[in-house]
């Protein structure tokens, strides 16, 4: 009997993306189809090879609409992962489970949206008439954007550990430096200094300045997941899935988990990390480079602590620009991240991890063995460890 583990059972064999922009000029469905086709071409597979599709519950392009456009004829697995950007690595976990169990052979995961030119997540006030139940505890008081939900949580972390907004700014500086040398990044050629960060306007005082907030983007990203054996026969170096996990904990809300005793951590990510290290059989020190979900900078510091790269309250000192930059001990977000490259709900972090495994990143890290990817934070979330084997 095969061991009950997801370790090394599946691999990402193809990646695809559209351009990242502020106004794609086409439908979200078209972006999804373009990204999926690009990922299949990258892998050297045809639509007829695909028998599984996974996306986000928030995606507007249903699995069968994408299948109908691609000409995918026979599908044995289709599902959607909830909780916004927390779904990103979760799509790959679902795909890997399907491949490992023989439910499907080739699964595409995709996410495509016009989050800048269409419905902007931070601009809910213009389109809400009836509040959803969960938002009814917050919106009447003017707490109704992702930035504000994150900030109320992060303020508690700042207060407890003496963390300042300038500490968060280092994450933006690192990400924008990496974006500056990635031609696909929106902020290609436009690095920032900590002084520029500190003089950018407050979005949510005293936690988030403009340059702490990820951009809003139009675009699509897709991944092809298949067995490690099949991936070895395809066009690209397989990015073997050494571990994939989802995680949630008691009293989780969608970005407003204010009711737990401790408000200084991201316990959902703790659950993910614990599983990733156990499944892959490695420790944080074995990670060559990481993509840490960076919708808002404070939660990058908190992730470093939650995942065990440093102790509680230590990230403000541990997370130096040198350590997190290309050439440092733990280069993060080498594509520029959601702050610098594009905000494709975390799926563009997975493509960058695959490029690092293949050795084709614009900001290639020397001798890559294991790459960590995390998904949306402050929500039920997910993570991956990809390996070069």
């Amino acid at each position: 009997m095969t061991a009950r583990t997801l370790k090394d059972r599946a691999a990402i064999a193809g990646i695809g993306q559209t351009e990242f922009s502020k106004n794609s000029g086409r439908t979200e469905l078209q972006l999804a189809c373009e990204a999926v086709k690009a990922a299949l071409d990258d892998a050297g597979l045809a639509p007829s090879d695909v028998d599984g599709l996974v996306t986000f519950t928030m995606d507007s392009s249903e699995e069968m609409e994408v299948a109908r456009n691609l000409g995918i004829e026979r599908v044995s697995m289709f599902t959607q992962v909830p909780y916004g950007g927390g779904a990103a690595a979760g799509t790959v976990m679902q795909a890997a489970m399907a491949v490992a169990t023989g439910v499907a052979d080739v699964v595409v995961c995709y996410r495509a949206f016009n989050e800048r030119s269409g419905n902007r997540f931070g601009n809910m006030s213009g389109r809400i008439t009836t509040l959803p139940l969960w938002l009814s505890w917050y919106a009447p008081y003017g707490l109704m954007t992702p930035a504000s939900w994150v900030a109320l949580h992060a303020r508690s972390y700042m207060h407890t550990y003496g963390v300042t907004n300038a500490d968060f700014g280092r994450i933006a500086v690192v990400d924008r430096a990496h974006a500056a040398t990635n031609p696909d990044a929106w902020f290609y050629g436009r690095p920032i200094t900590i002084e520029e960060h500190q003089s950018s306007r407050w979005i949510i005082e005293p936690v988030l300045r403009l340059l702490d907030c990820c951009q809003e983007s139009d675009g699509g990203v897709a991944l092809v997941v298949t067995s490690v054996e099949r991936a070895r026969d395809l066009r690209q170096t397989p990015a073997v899935i050494a571990a994939a996990a989802q995680g949630a904990t008691f009293d989780s809300e969608m970005m407003t988990s204010y009711y737990r005793d401790d408000l200084t951590g991201l316990p959902e990510m703790g659950v993910v990390g614990e599983q990733l290290w156990r499944t892959a059989g490695i420790a944080p020190s074995d990670i060559s480079t990481a993509f840490l979900y960076d919708h808002f900078t404070p939660f990058v510091l908190m992730q470093l602590e939650e995942l065990g790269f440093c102790g509680r309250g230590e990230a403000k000192d541990w997370a130096t620009v040198e350590r997190l930059s290309l050439g440092g001990e733990l280069p993060i977000n080498t594509s520029g991240g959601l702050l610098g490259e594009a905000y494709i709900h975390g799926m563009n972090g997975i493509t960058e991890a695959v490029r690092q495994i293949r050795g084709t990143s614009c900001n290639q890290v020397d001798t890559v063995e294991h790459v960590l990817v995390t998904a949306g934070t402050g929500v039920p979330t997910s993570g991956l460890i990809l390996a070069r084997r």
Binding site: G122, T130, G142, W202
Partner: protein, 137 residues
Amino acid sequence: MSSRLAPSMTADTQFFWDGVKEHKLLIQRCGSCGLLRHPPRPMCPRCNALEWDTVESSGRGTVRSFVMPHHPPLPWFEDPYIVALIELDEGTRLVTNLVGIAPESATIGMPVEVHYEEFDDGLVLPLFAPLRAGDAS
């Protein structure tokens, strides 16, 4: 009078808003083990009992966290305004506005008390203000 977005409610949460209308801050209490919980929900996470009643909060608590949202501007608010997470003396928490104090004077840990404000269409919200001197007992 000004307006705010009105909360939605279900059979699980209506008692809270009914209470606020009568200037009472009600906390849901498990009918079996006595655990207090907020936001309200149908089942006790500790003992799984479905029976519940409510207790009236003293209306006093402390500021656990607070922020000043500046962008995007919202039609219901004048900048600056304070959104705070309050921990009630009874132990449950709720998000609200901190009023009657300038942002630069507010601090985490400061004692506060409930203050009811009426908005358009009969909406009443429980806002919080600094505990008045001499009120601390």
